[in-house]
């Protein structure tokens, strides 16, 4: 053992240098084995924690993006969480919720006051949107907010009222004048 080697091994492996070769080899193998076990355990724990975080995530965590979300949205999502907990977890497969007509009606009823409370300008739109058959996509927007962050549903919820005005400018009025003229 040279002086340079001792200097290099100072503090961390100085006691290793004093060990016999067999003990050193056994110790190295033990370090490798325990490190591998730790690595495997860490990966398993990481996966488990990720799944647990996904499962345990609720409307409480909507407080994280608080700067971007109006309080009304956060409160409403927190209120709708317990009732729609099961469909909220399957937000990506919310099409199924839309097909099941039993769950759709209560969800639309919860959305109507939410939109009216957050944006009064949009309030008259639900009256026109409600009778339309195309609004079956609305349950998707409702099921997403309770899942996690509010801003992401907001982005999807914004374009929803837009298609509603399109049927409004119904052209039948023009034929009335046209037919009268001709």
């Amino acid at each position: 053992v040279t002086r340079r080697h001792l200097k290099a091994c100072w503090w961390q492996t100085s006691c290793m240098v004093t060990q016999p070769q067999a003990a050193r080899d056994a110790g190295r193998r033990r370090i490798a084995r325990l490190t591998g076990l730790t690595m495997a355990g860490s990966l398993a724990l990481g996966g488990g924690f990720t799944v647990a975080a996904q499962a345990a995530y609720s409307g409480k965590s909507a407080a994280v993006p608080a700067p971007e979300v109006p309080l009304d949205d956060a409160e409403l999502t927190a209120e709708t969480d317990p009732s729609t907990a099961a469909p909220s977890l399957g937000a990506t497969t919310s099409v199924e919720a839309a097909t099941t007509t039993t769950t759709a009606p209560p969800l639309t009823t919860t959305l109507a006051p939410k939109v009216a409370a957050s944006a009064p300008v949009v309030a008259p739109e639900p009256t026109t949107v409600a009778p339309e058959p195309e609004t079956t996509a609305e349950p998707e927007q409702v099921t997403e907010p309770p899942t996690t962050q509010a801003p992401r549903p907001r982005v999807t919820a914004a374009p929803a009222p837009r298609p509603a005005p399109r049927p409004r400018p119904a052209p039948p009025a023009r034929p009335a004048t046209g037919s009268g003229g001709s």
């Binding site: 100072w10 370090i31 990720t50 647990a52 990506t92």
Partner: protein, 188 residues
């Protein structure tokens, strides 16, 4: 590649694992300092585990930062992950995480370059581990979304218990540590 909120969940999972690994590393470091070890697990084994687990902490810390920045849900950039208190999103809590990252980087780099620096400097830098761990814990308590969940409470309490017991044992056995240090220096 990562649909939906997968990155957000990964951020939290890797953060919790990084805290656990950092705790284990601190406990092994304290144990090695105290001269713990026996025939089957000599002291250099504990030191080797301390070193390897510290490197594993860096891996999970890198994943934690990577998933946080890549998520784009909160405005946290690469600079915010390294420069403390520069993040526009929760600057205090994110800044504490950045500070802990810097301290950990200093610890790892100084240990890797230990041959080229004086032992006293390395030891001085290594003392910041006692600052890095609580900062990491406070960062998790302050910004963690799962703090109120039972599994995260168990993780936090277990980590605090392990480190507090280790530090208390070290303080109580200070004389034994000094004797071990002297014997180590003599053998070297």
């Amino acid at each position: 590649v990562f649909p939906g909120k997968s990155l957000w969940y990964l951020t939290r999972g890797t953060g919790a694992v990084a805290l656990i690994l950092l705790t284990i590393s601190v406990v092994f470091g304290i144990a090695a300092t105290m001269g713990a070890g026996g025939k089957r697990t000599p002291r250099f084994v504990i030191q080797g585990l301390h070193r390897n687990i510290s490197l594993l902490v860096m891996v999970f810390l890198g994943l934690h930062v990577l998933t946080t920045v890549a998520d784009h849900y909160v405005p946290i950039g690469w600079v915010d992950a390294v420069v403390p208190f520069s993040s526009p999103y929760k600057p205090l809590w994110v800044g504490l995480g950045a500070l802990a990252t810097d301290l950990l980087l200093a610890l790892i780099l100084s240990s890797l370059l230990r041959v080229h620096i004086s032992p006293s400097l390395w030891r001085t830098i290594h003392w910041s581990a006692y600052l890095c761990w609580p900062i990491t814990l406070i960062h998790g308590l302050g910004i963690g979304s799962d703090v109120h969940h039972q599994w995260m409470l168990v993780v936090n309490v277990a980590c605090v218990f392990a480190v507090v017991v280790s530090v208390l044992l070290r303080v109580l056995r200070r004389d034994a540590v000094r004797l071990a240090m002297r014997s180590t220096m003599r053998s070297a």
